[in-house]
Symmetry: C2
Subunit: 207 residues, 2 copies
């Protein structure tokens, strides 16, 4: 029996420098790899994870002339940056999105990357991870609405909202003090491990 | 008695080309000027409207190193593009935001412009106008959450949601057929005139 590997893109929702997003993204990936290797390694249901850094695509503000809803083939986009982004997203069977909350909503850089495409997202499963003062719960809700209702993606019911332990943490999280930390080994956010595993299990089921 | 003029910035929420946003923005301004001149002309409560086109600021994706919440003076921003944007927004006492709905949410270019600043928005009144298949009602809700709860702006309770009459209209609205139209003189969207006037009255009261 041939094995068709499923690919999951782990999209980091921010591009600012300094940024905490890679820390949280690696935290999520570490949990998945250390606690749930069966889904990764099982040859019948092989799953690979690949980080997608929006910095690598440097998309300008949406500047396609044809609404993405009307595009069915990536060759019909106006710009090479859109074609490159479309081709990357088309390679994935599902997604994990890891995002900070900005002013109770999603970061513009993430929404811009989402809005560039349409058929590339359609009906694919996605798991949303947010972080912030209240776990980024409002960003999580708004992003769910965009992906589930706007783009008909299969958003997992289980979700992950990593709540900062204090305001001080929020201000320090992008400083040198935390930049080198592994949230997993330090025990920070360890209470969210079950959330990550159960959301990821649901994601794999929906693939 | 000296008269202090109040300035309202009318921010267009999209920058795509072609775009319908200038049509809808002019539609709103026309209604205000033709039906409610007292608020504009009354010398005790003089109000001026100025269109703000995000294309004129060409903000890149948020790239300030210090979170906007911690900035109290525009000289503390890293970049000249941020200072220019901050200085423009600081000149206004209130805002009208006119925005399309993208995938049930707000356009990235608008959210990016919002997220760049903080104290410049704080406690200022704002009236939200959206347009789209269902009047952009979900964008309107998400934007209200960002501005009211995220940035503590005084969002008017009355709102304007301009519902496209058909899917065909949505596809044609950015074509040559409509680009030269005045929605007001053609009677298109005339049913929303009362919504515009009452939301604007509330905005002026909150100034």
């Amino acid at each position: 029996m041939s094995v068709v590997a499923k690919k999951i893109g782990v999209i980091m929702g921010s591009t600012r420098n300094p940024r905490a997003c890679p820390l949280f993204t690696n935290f999520i990936i570490d949990i998945i790899k250390t606690t749930n290797p069966s889904a990764i390694l099982d040859k019948k249901n092989k799953v690979s994870l690949e980080i997608v850094d929006l910095n690598d695509f440097a998309l300008p503000m949406l500047n396609e002339t044809i609404p993405p809803l009307l595009i069915k083939n990536s060759s019909n986009y106006d710009h090479s940056h859109t074609k490159k982004w479309s081709e990357k997203i088309s390679t994935f069977d599902g997604f994990i999105i890891v995002s900070p909350q900005y002013n109770w909503g999603y970061p513009a850089v993430l929404k811009n990357a989402i809005d560039y495409l349409c058929h590339e997202w359609f009906e694919k499963p996605v798991m949303i991870v947010t972080y912030g003062g209240y776990g980024g719960n409002k960003c999580n809700e708004q992003l769910t609405q965009v992906l589930r209702d706007g783009l008909r993606m299969k958003v997992t019911d289980k979700t992950v909202m990593l709540k900062f332990p204090s305001r001080e943490f929020a201000l320090e999280v992008v400083s040198d003090k935390y930049m080198s930390k592994s949230f997993l080994s330090e025990g920070l956010f360890s209470e969210y491990k079950d959330d990550v595993v159960s959301a990821f299990d649901e994601l794999v089921e929906k693939l």
